[in-house]
Every structure is written in structure tokens, then in C-alpha cells.
Symmetry: C2
Subunit: 399 residues, 2 copies
Amino acid sequence: MKTADPELLRAINRLNVLDTIRRRGPISRVEISERTELSTTTVSAITGSLLDDGLILTRHEGDIRNEAVRGRPRVMLEVNPDAARVVGAKIAASRMVFVVTNFRGDVLSTLTLPIRIDRQPIAVIADLVEDGVRRCVVDAGLSLEDVDSVCLGLPGVIEHRTGHIRSSPIFREINIDFAAEMSARLSTPTIVESDAHAITLGHHWFGKARDLQDMVLISLEQTLGLGVLHGNRLFRGAGGLSHNLGDLVLGTGPQGIVRLSSQAGESAILGEQQTDGRFAEAVRLGRGMTHVQALIQADDDRLIGAAVRAGEAVGLTIANIVTLFAPPRVILVGSSLALGEPFLNSLRDAYALAIPPSLRGVSELVFDDSTDDFWAQGAAAVALYELYESPWSTTGPAL
Amino acid sequence: MKTADPELLRAINRLNVLDTIRRRGPISRVEISERTELSTTTVSAITGSLLDDGLILTRHEGDIRNEAVRGRPRVMLEVNPDAARVVGAKIAASRMVFVVTNFRGDVLSTLTLPIRIDRQPIAVIADLVEDGVRRCVVDAGLSLEDVDSVCLGLPGVIEHRTGHIRSSPIFREINIDFAAEMSARLSTPTIVESDAHAITLGHHWFGKARDLQDMVLISLEQTLGLGVLHGNRLFRGAGGLSHNLGDLVLGTGPQGIVRLSSQAGESAILGEQQTDGRFAEAVRLGRGMTHVQALIQADDDRLIGAAVRAGEAVGLTIANIVTLFAPPRVILVGSSLALGEPFLNSLRDAYALAIPPSLRGVSELVFDDSTDDFWAQGAAAVALYELYESPWSTTGPAL
DNA sequence: CTATTTAATTCGAGGTGCAAATTAAATCCG
DNA sequence: CGGATTTAATTTGCACCTCGAATTAAATAG
């Protein structure tokens, strides 16, 4: 257990203040004091240091209160967008998406590389990622030296603390210290994180869970991932592992163990159509899901069946997750949502059937069809969060 | 988010020191300083205040180091057993077990009431519990005024923070504020907690998880419960709910949703034999499981079948839980362990089959056949934990 | 009986948050 | 137009926390 000293206090309260400034847009010191329950004295001290460090800015307008109030006007504070820049990336089997954002999380540039990196040697993947980061940074009119941190979100089981990849569908190798590898190549601190965790934090920062302290996110992509937000923090299992939902067992069938991935994984659904040449080509290019969408709308029975089965499996799984975590909201994201109504309806039905009566109504299901950019932005949020937490100033006296 | 002030610091470090004294038995200040990474100055201050409050004692012997060391001898510190007394209880459908413990968690007296309270009106149950607490306290040679806190562990979904019972197999009513009811009756602060959580904390305090910061416990009783220890703290889901594993869905069968409780719940197994009169009587008295044990050893095929099915279902579920939490250890407790080899073997086999390869070996399964006393002792640990956390002294200066 | 060694406490410095007093910057109104 | 009023933000003074260095306490070695 980490020992508690006065500086820890400051760190906690500082993060708290900075986060409320970020969340509540331009906000005055008095209001920060009310929200955080810190005294105005302390808020003044902290905001003063944040101003000194250039992390926030003052603005002498924008007070929304009833116009023409008496008294000294409030000075509004907001995050300084230019205090830092980070790169966030989503690395998937068939594409990589990069974004550069400022300190506020605003996207400065994006870059999508529709490349299949599936099972390439690690050196090749690292080359491509490095290239993507560099190009996206240049697109933003910046140089790598201007970038404070990079976060790569990728599917699989990732040990956040060390940056080790325990298993991932896009790597042949196992137990790779990808974070170290990329940090060296980019000569910039690089974080490796599960893509599901990244988008979970993204939703908490500027998505569909901004208002919540607890929630669960389920990502339905090539890999089925889980992100749990608990008390405003990512729940990273014991040892900082991420969760791989696809490994969950749904039951036993005639062929033995039935795992979720075999019912609802991208390949399980797409596999239904491997015979079709044009289709196989689309899959190879990572367009499988959009292609499937078209086929489903054309009433392809086999595919609709697969979608329904997948929806049922996911619905049951969500019910189980809700049974365990009882979150107020469950957010579903990922390419499989493109399967459309057959999938979503059977998912909803299965969920409604499987959720225990005592928990009926505690969790709301939210479907989120954000683009890949948002995933990358979530990765950026992971990088930003660590910057927000890190001590900036020399911790010296306020002068 | 709670605002951080200097007193919070003290509270954290104080708890930290007190806990290492409790865990590491008689221990010197220097050693505490090493373990907690607090300076000897701070340790001295804190232990001084703990001594003033009478929570710990000094002992001028017991230094295990190489005999005949030079220098001033270390003064050993240990928890003062008599600093407080608490009552812990396990309330089950067919019996209630009470223990009175001292501040160290040592059992001073126990009381078992083999009463079936299943579905009695709340007033009746409250009467019985009150009676049991009072009698057990008297047995310990104490009076209720000597008791600082009571914790009742019972099956079901309990909201720890408020003491509300959301659902429990032993209550007809729902959403009861049982904690308030019992606090009033006993005029002693009373905590209501899920029995699974209680024994989880018990194992962390003085059981099979003393050495771990993270672990998962699965309780197989009338109700199937879950306890998750995460970073030395009980993980209480969003909103402080406890987990009801029995509601987990295993899959869909011909009759629709198949829940774990229908495969592995006590009644699911015992139900196999409801026709037998003597057996039904045993079940009614809460001796079902021991009776079953005898029958299984006599090669009762129907029951062995039920045990095997239950073991499979539990094994799969554990694999899923491990997939989600990846704890270093899983502890299994509860009356169903009495089913013996047919159950345990099929459980182990199913687990081995269902655990994803990437997680093979991360979790060790531990079977714990502690008596009901230990459950009650776990409830006492919950009560003690809150006492340990609470500010004792007037928080004033050290004088 | 003194030197040495190790444990524990005391002392002073530096950090932190808070309440009360003070200063700053606007509006109100005679 | 200028003092009274009102509200925001900072300054001041104090209590608390932790820590390193110096000091005191309590044993052994010789």
C-alpha cells in the first residue's frame, strides 16, 4: 500500500479540480469549490498553480447566471487546449486509426490506414504503427517532440501496468513488451491498453457515460471485450489484466465447451459466408461487417440466423455481467452492431429473458455506433488521464 | 468524491499501521516502519495515539531476531484484544450461528440455533436474531453494552451502505431496512452484509487469503454467492450490492433459460430426493447436505448424478469468473462441498475444460470446509473492520 | 564503568487545507 | 457621480500531517 503524505493530498485534490474544470467547461472558482467541497482558499491555491503550469486558462466572460448580478464577476476557468498533445490509436486486425488530440481531447487530426496487420511479425506491425503515428502527427502540423504521450488501444489481454501483451488476435508472438518497443521507436512515452478499456474511458470522458461513476461497456468486434468503470476508475482486474469476454463459456454443447467467441465473434458470424468469393475478399479487407449488413438487408437467411444466434449469446452474457456488476448503464459498441435489427432484437430479447427479476430495470442498455475515431479518441483519453494525474509543477512552494 | 484533508491522511496511515500490527502479530515500531514505508517518526506518533486509545499494547519480549543483539531492545506491539467486542452472525435458512469476538477476532463464545426461519415474517426473524445475539453475549460473560458493533451475514442481495435487503431467500418481504431494525432492537450499531462478503473478509483477515490482496470466493450454500477482494478491499459492485451467482445464466435448454441455481443450488440437488420421507425431514431441519453425503457414499445413483451436474455447472461458472477477474486464488466454501468426490471431481474437470488456455495456471482453486463458526467470525471481521477504520480518539493533538 | 549499538522520541522544516479577515471588482442608488 | 452594497478571490494565521536530523533511551561488549 502506498504511503500517504501531504503531497498525495495535493495530487488528489488537484486532479479533482482539474477534472471538474475539464468536465464543467468554463467554470468559476466558487462553483469548483461547491462541486468539489474544497474551500475557496484551497481552490484558489490549486487553480493558481494550474494557471502557473499553463494547464488552464482564464476567461472574463461566459458567466451563465442571471445577468446583471451584483458583485465582483466570476472569472471563468477552462482547460488550456494547448497544454499538451497526445496520440491515441486503435489498432485492429484490418485497420489502424490514429488521432492527435490536444489537452482537452479535441481531435486535431485523424488518419485511417486500412491495412491488414493480422498475424504479421511484431517488427512489421511496429513499423506500421510507428509510421501511422508519425504521419498523423505531421498531419496535425506538429512534430513528435510536441507530443507528450501516446496510447495504443488494441484487442486482447493487455497488462496495463507493464505494457505487456498477454494475448492478442493481431500478434503471433505472446508476452511482448510492446509499450517499451514503441516508446523506444517514438522516443515518446507510450502506453498500451486494451481497446475496450480505451473506449470505456472515452465514454466516461466525453461520451455516453460522462454523468456516471459506474458503468460497464461491452465491445463487440473481432474480439469481445469488457470495460468496467467503478467509482470513476477503470476496474482493471487483479494484476491489471483486461478482460476477454470471448473466452466466457455459455454452456456445453454436443462438441463440448461452447464459448461466446464461437457464437458472437466477428469470425463466427462472417465464417458463415466464407464460401462466397466476393465476400471472402471483403472480409480480408476488414469490410466484412458492412458487407454482412447489406446481405442481411437482402434477407440472407443464413446470415440472419447467425446474427440472431450471436444476439442471443451476447444478450445472455450481458445479463450475466449485469448480475455480477449491477451497473446503472451498459454501453455496447463495436462493429457487430452493424448486424442491425435481427441481431439487436434477439440481443434485447435474450437479455430481457435472462436478466434476473430482482435486477430488472437497474441497468439501461445503450447502443453506441461511434466510428473508429472515437475509439482512438478513447485511447487518447487514457494518455490524457495519465497526464492529468502526473505531477506537473515542481511541487515547490506557491511562491 | 470525498475531499481530501489532512485528517484523511492520518486515517489512512493509522489504519495501515493498525492493520500491520494485527497481521504481523507482536511487531516492533522499526518493523512497522519498514513494512508501511512510513518514517519511524510517524510510526511513533501513530502508535503513541493507538496506545493512548487503548487499541494496542506493548510487550517487552518476543523479539525473534538473532538473540543477543546489541542496542536498545525493540518493544513489541500487538492489538489489544480487549479494546472492543463485536458480535458476528451467520443467518441461514435452517440455522443461525453467533459468535462474540474480541478486538483481535478471537472467538469468546459461540451459539448455534438450529431453527428453520425460512420465510417467517420479519418480526419473527428479528426476534430470533435478537435473542441469539443476547444469549451469545451473555455466554461470553458480557452485557450488550460491552459490545461495540454487530454484523449479521445473511444470504441474498444486500445493500451494504444502507443495510437494505434487496432480496433474500429467508425473507418474504423485500427491501427491508434490517440494519435499522436490529440496531434499534439491540441499541447497538448493527451492520447487515451478504454472508459471502462476510466470509470473504474473514478469509482475508484470518483465513486462506491472508497473504493476498486480490482473490475471489464462491459460496455454495442454499444461495450461491460471490465475494471479490480487490486491492485489499471488498469489491461491492456498483451501489454496494452483493452478487447473487445463482442468477447467472448457463445457457438455454429445452425449457428456456437455465440458471446456475437450478443446477447447483442446494434445493436443486436436494430436490432430487424429495419423495423420501426421512430425507424430506432431514432437509426441513437443515441437515439435507449431511444426509446427502451419506447417501452418496452409499452409491445413490440419482444423487450422484445431481452432484455431478452441479459440479459441472459450478466449474463452468468459476471458469467464467476467473476469466473476468483473473484472481490468483479462488476459494470455495459452503455446504455443497459436503457432496464429496463426485461433486468436486466433476467441478475440477469442468473448470479445467472451461478455463481459457491463456489463463491456465493463474488461479489456484482452494476448497475450504470451514464450519459455520468461521462464517460468523467473518461477519465479526466486517464489524471489526469498520471499527478499525473509524476515528477513535478525538483526533486532537498527540499532547 | 565506559564505549558502542540500536530503538524510539523530540525538534524544526515544509507541505496541506480551512476559517476569518481582507482586498478586488462589479452594480445600486441617492 | 461617488459612496454603499454585494459578491469573488486572495491573504493571513493556525492546526494538522509527514519527514530528516538530532537527541535521548536502553540494552550489550569489553
